[in-house]
């Protein structure tokens, strides 16, 4: 009986931790997606890179870098690598002012984090 109660408490704590971690990841993904979506896309912002574009990209990258210190504890690198590579590209293309590559990297990043969102959502599709 004692073992059963201990197992029940551990199971409840585990469920709570999973819920907490999933909420954190989903919240952080929404935040990152929001910042990425808000990044400037107009051609005028790229020749030369505007202050608005650079500061927006730096803010986005700082949050992604912060997230990359926590995410590897929660998910595998094979899931994070695509988004990480896209975030790095986004930053370098913003600095070099290459609009087409910047937009492609942005799309790749948004798609990658969308996959992560699906994985952490409690939905039938996420089980696959």
């Amino acid at each position: 009986m004692k073992t059963f109660i201990v197992a029940l408490i551990i199971f409840a704590l585990l469920c709570g931790a999973i819920f907490g971690v999933s909420s954190f990841v989903l919240g952080r993904i929404s935040e990152l997606s929001g910042l990425a979506l808000a990044l400037a896309e107009d051609e005028a912002e790229f020749f030369p890179p505007s202050e608005r574009l650079l500061s927006g990209t730096e803010e986005f990258f700082a949050l992604w870098d912060k997230s990359m210190r926590v995410f590897p504890y929660i998910m595998g690198y094979e899931m994070l690598d695509r988004a990480d590579e896209a975030a790095l590209s986004l930053r370098s293309y913003a600095k070099s002012g290459e609009r087409a590559e910047f937009l492609a990297a942005k799309m790749r990043f948004l798609d990658s984090v969308e996959r992560l969102r699906e994985l952490f959502s409690v939905r039938f599709e996420s089980i696959a």
């Binding site: 009986m1 059963f4 197992a7 551990i10 199971f11 585990l14 094979e78």
Partner: protein, 229 residues
């Protein structure tokens, strides 16, 4: 390198804690679900040790989940009747009162060769030496020889005559629950069960921790009050 070392330490401590939590049963005495869980645990534990890109949580979460489920499903059937029926397979009597039950053997997918092999390993040469052969839930065959084949005990020497036992003890009540299969094996009815309990001044089945009946109809009752809690 240091990360692999620390990961190994964490997984080792986790596995020791988990195995301690699961209990003391040896591999040979495990139920099927316990055996499967143990194999799964070793596989899961190895994942973050061999793959540097695999996070620790990929091992910790499934290991803790499996162990908790194992504890639930080993405990709940003792309290919830329908779960016991669903999850626990009762022992099967392969040889009963000296007769081989071919139907039960087929049901357990056991061939005559398997039975003979088990008999030989237990030190018997023929099924005729056996009064009861019981296939236990852990997959092991238990043999109970006929009286003529039983070894003599100290008591037999003291009394001068060998003890004559009356076959198998059928556990008709375990922890306040009536074991339908045991009643059937003992060829007893519920009516007999309740009248026997009444004779022993027991009004409720839930008061009984263990009630057995042998082939001669002799019953033994151990109430919950008699046990240490």
């Amino acid at each position: 390198m240091a990360a692999v070392f620390i990961r190994t330490l964490i997984i080792y401590v986790l596995l020791i804690a988990v195995m301690r939590f699961l209990g003391k049963r040896q591999i040979g005495e495990m139920q099927i679900s316990e055996l499967v869980t143990t194999f799964l645990l070793s596989d899961l534990a190895a994942q973050p040790l061999v793959g540097a890109g695999v996070p620790m949580s990929y091992a910790i979460v499934p290991i803790v989940t499996l162990v908790c489920l194992e504890v639930f499903f080993s405990f709940l059937p003792t309290k919830v009747g329908f779960l016991k029926k669903l999850l626990d397979s009762p022992p099967s009597i392969i040889i009963g009162k000296g007769k081989i039950d071919r139907r039960e053997m087929m049901r357990m997918r056991m061939s005559m060769e398997d039975l003979l092999c088990e008999l030989h390993l237990a030190g018997y040469t023929s099924p005729s030496e056996i009064e009861y052969a019981v296939l236990e839930p852990n997959g092991k065959l238990a043999f109970f020889p006929v009286n003529a084949e039983k070894p003599l005990t100290k008591g037999d020497f003291a009394s001068g005559t060998p003890t004559q036992t009356s076959g198998l003890l059928h556990p008709v009540i375990i922890d306040g629950k009536i074991m339908e299969y045991a009643l059937k094996d003992a060829a007893k009815s519920k009516k007999w069960l309740f009248s026997t309990l009444k004779k022993s001044k027991i009004n409720d089945v839930s008061e009984v921790f263990l009630m057995t009946v042998d082939d001669a109809g002799k019953s033994e009752i151990i109430t919950k009050k008699e046990c240490t809690s």
